[in-house]
């Protein structure tokens, strides 16, 4: 979203056009192009119906929430591969605790499970300087295994209707609850990234760690914090899965980490740190949902969807890559 910063003669439209930063904004263009294509070819299949649009939002809510937190992680030049597994774990922890002890303890237990794993990720990265790629790769397996173990691979039904109402099952009038969750997450993420000192420290840590440290920023603490937040966000995503699907299962969220990371990178956040585009992330996430939706409407089977989705992600990331 960077505007041409040093455009001296704005009257020259050509100059503005050539200076426009195509690469960081490629996601918006891609989104519009794909949307128009789907509208033309799939309009008769109900692509443009309000219901289908809301469906896209519903299906991408969990991805969007994890992607907002992931934007902070990637902006510090770290990565979190464990978000999908944390979501699965949080979904079963919440379901079991809600059945056992009731609504509030259930919610707290779910959040706590994500926070605990996020804190371990962050602690290992910040204190022991283990690369986050390795820490969270290990945690991906660990959390998924833990979720499967404590449930003995069985789904955990949630009978609490209020829980289902709050976490994704309910609507506010015509507005789906999952849309509200998405909007709130993006709003908090945007303000935190662009309007707080925390956001600046995150960007500085990723942009030039040496300079950030010289300026008096505790970069280790920043890394710990973003990984902790990512764990909590993943837990919320898992709890939304549990609400929408009225049960906790260790499979919820499996493989989401790749979709989340793709959404963030598509949105213009640099894998090398120093740049974090929250709105871009949202559009990236919606873009992933848009493609899934369109491919299903087009009647492609699961295997074909997977192939096309992979190709589109590679193309979009290649176009948006800066260096």
């Amino acid at each position: 979203m960077s505007s041409p910063a040093t455009a001296t003669r704005p009257s020259l439209i050509t100059q503005a056009v050539t200076r426009f930063d195509w690469r960081s904004n490629v996601i918006y263009i891609a989104f519009v192009v794909v949307f128009i294509l789907f509208a033309i070819f799939l309009g008769s299949d109900g692509f443009l119906s309000a219901n289908n649009m809301l469906n896209i939002v519903r299906q991408t809510a969990t991805i969007s929430i994890m992607a907002v937190a992931m934007t902070f992680v990637i902006a510090t030049a770290e990565i979190d591969l464990s978000v999908g597994s944390i979501a699965g774990l949080a979904s079963v922890v919440t379901a079991m605790a809600t059945t056992q002890w009731g609504l509030v303890p259930g919610i707290l237990a779910g959040l706590l499970s994500g926070a605990a794993i996020g804190a371990i990720n962050g602690g290992l990265v910040a204190l022991l300087k283990v690369p986050s790629f390795l820490v969270t790769l290990g945690m991906l397996g660990l959390a998924a295994g833990l979720a499967q173990w404590i449930t003995a691979s069985a789904p955990q039904p949630i009978g609490n209707t209020l829980y289902v109402q709050i976490f994704g099952g309910g609507d506010f009038g015509p507005i789906p609850g999952l849309l509200v969750w998405t909007v709130v997450a993006v709003a908090i993420g945007w303000v935190a990234m662009n309007r707080t000192s925390f956001g600046r420290r995150v960007l500085a840590t990723g942009g030039n760690p040496t300079a950030a440290a010289y300026t008096g920023i505790r970069t280790a603490r920043i890394k710990f914090t973003v990984l902790l937040l990512s764990g909590i966000a993943a837990a919320i995503a898992g709890m939304l899965y549990a609400g929408r699907l009225e049960s906790g299962r260790f499979q919820w969220g499996q493989g989401d980490e790749l979709t989340v990371i793709a959404a963030v990178i598509l949105g213009g956040t640099s894998l090398f740190g120093g740049r974090g585009a929250i709105i871009g992330t949202l559009v990236g996430s919606l873009f992933m949902g848009l493609i899934n939706n369109g491919l299903i409407l087009a009647g492609l089977d699961v295997a074909q969807q997977s192939v096309v989705r992979g190709a589109i992600i590679i193309a979009a990331v290649a176009l948006s890559r800066k260096k």
Binding site: S2, T6, N194, A204, G207, T210, Y214, G274
Partner: protein, 494 residues
């Protein structure tokens, strides 16, 4: 600063240094590499705490142990590049970690931009506070650094080689800015190798040599020659002496460069090197020596001029095509560009010649071992275990590995950029011997060095670079002394 001593373990780097920095004055700090300048500045900056001595600011003793202490004492640093975040805007950088907040507690970028604009207005410069730093040229980075320091109410600004990456008119702008800062009562410590700049901008000079102050005086009382003599000192002339070598009178020209230019720095360089010759390149930092070396080695494409080898014009697109033509570059920064530090001495030595140690499709471990042993012996690399990481060797031995690695590729022209920096004197003489030996086999060497004694010891001819041009060509016999060469490099001699 009084009686500053700084030791690293048993090694005293600063030996009782005194320095008075006066408000509204520019105080130049000069000395050779390793004289203690940067250590002294790191002490001021809070990177290294002092071992003994006192630092007073405005009569009050201060303790500086961290960068935050230095900031509180009003000492600001203008680094070359390390303290800015390229992906953030100018205003965001200036107020990083001290963000301007609105009443709601959120960061107020507009107020920060306004404040930044006021600082720039006060300095009489125009920079868009909303521009991302990475989109600005180097000269602006420096201005942003200065603004950042001023926004913290710095009363002392330390500038380390501030003109190294500036173009000529930018340098003049910087000097005007320095004059303005002086008139505001800000003291400036100006670290530089360039006599003309020091004489232009400084009021006072302190020269360090081997961790001691050897000269401290007002600049008006001194001539360039006196300053240079203080910097160089009376050397022990034994180790580094020129050895007369038998040069074939009509050896063929190996490399000819005509009017080579590239990028912002390199303007026009013309020179020839004959087979068997060692040509030294002298000049100040930023005079284009490294840039020229990069062009010769195929790392950068020249934007003008022609290179010929054996009289045939060549255009190198990549370092590989230069290597095929028999040119090897030993780069300036051995840790970054010359070695894979975590890999073993053997791996490093054999990396460019892996094709030669194959048997069939696969690498032959026997041949690898033989080649390693042969190189280690031939270049006398002092290594206990050639299969241990090269990072465990001393700087001098690491450099020998780099030299051995490239000479073993059998180049005809070896380009060496500051090959002895950070190398002890013993190894230095050994490296110079290797270079002489290499040249005596009919190969050519382009030897870049800022250390004049070694340049004088090894080069048959010296070409002085100034502002991106090959300015003067000197025969070894034309140069009577190091001082004379230094004066020519500084452009002070007729």
């Amino acid at each position: 600063m009084r009686g500053i001593v700084k030791s690293f373990g048993p090694v005293e780097v600063l030996k009782s240094v005194d320095m008075d920095i006066v408000a509204g004055e520019v105080h130049a700090l000069a000395g050779e590499n390793g004289a203690g300048k940067s250590t002294l500045m790191k002490v001021l900056q809070g990177v290294h705490p002092i071992t003994s001595g006192t630092i007073e600011v405005a009569g009050q003793p201060v303790t500086i142990r961290t960068t935050a202490d230095a900031e509180r004492a009003g000492i600001g640093m203008v680094f070359q590049e390390f303290s800015l975040i390229p992906s953030m805007t100018v205003a965001q950088n200036i107020f990083l970690n001290r963000e301007v907040r609105s009443k709601s507690g959120l960061v107020d970028d507009r107020a920060a931009e306004q404040a930044a604009r006021e600082i720039f207005d006060g300095l009489g410069v125009t920079i868009d506070p909303k521009a991302r730093v990475e989109t600005l040229g180097t000269a602006y980075w420096q201005l942003v650094e200065i603004a950042k320091a001023l926004s913290k109410n710095a009363s002392v600004l330390v500038m380390d080689e501030p003109t190294a990456s500036l173009a000529k008119h930018e340098v003049e702008n910087l000097f005007q800015l320095i004059d303005k800062l002086k008139s505001r009562g800000i003291a400036i410590v100006y670290i530089s190798h360039r006599m003309d700049e020091i004489r232009r901008v400084a009021d006072r000079i302190t020269v360090l040599r081997d961790g001691r102050v050897v000269l401290a005086a007002g600049i008006a009382e001194l001539t360039a020659a006196e300053i240079i003599e203080a910097i160089i000192g009376r050397r022990l002339a034994s180790d580094l002496v020129y050895r007369d070598r038998q040069l074939p009178v009509d050896a063929p020209i190996l490399l000819e460069a005509t009017n080579i230019g590239s990028g912002r720095v390199l303007k026009s360089v013309s020179l020839t090197i004959r087979a068997g010759e060692i040509v030294g390149l002298a000049g100040l930092m930023g005079s284009g020596r490294t840039e020229f070396a990069r062009v010769v080695a195929g790392m950068d494409r020249p934007t003008q001029g022609t290179l010929s080898i054996d009289g045939k014009p060549v255009r190198f697109g990549t370092p590989i095509s230069a290597q095929r033509a028999g040119i090897a570059l030993i780069p300036e920064d051995r840790r970054d560009q010359g070695l894979v530090l975590d890999h073993s001495v053997s791996d490093n030595l054999t990396l460019p010649v892996l094709d030669r140690v194959k048997s069939g499709l696969f690498l032959s471990m026997t041949k690898l071992r033989e080649l390693t042993n042969q190189l280690v012996t031939r270049f006398d690399v002092k290594v206990a275990d050639p299969y241990a990481p090269v990072s465990r060797l001393s700087g001098g031995n690491q450099q020998k590995v780099v030299v051995a690695k490239w000479i073993n590729t059998r180049p005809r022209l070896l380009v060496m950029d500051e090959p002895t920096s950070g190398v002890d004197i013993g190894t230095k003489t050994e490296i110079l011997d290797i270079v002489r030996e290499f040249a005596s086999q009919g190969n050519a060497v382009l030897f870049i060095s800022s250390e004049l004694p070694e340049l004088l010891a090894v080069a048959d001819r010296i070409i002085v670079f100034r502002e991106g041009r090959s300015d003067r060509e000197l025969d070894r016999d034309d140069v009577a002394s190091e001082e004379q060469l230094q004066l020519i490099i500084q452009g002070e001699a007729a």
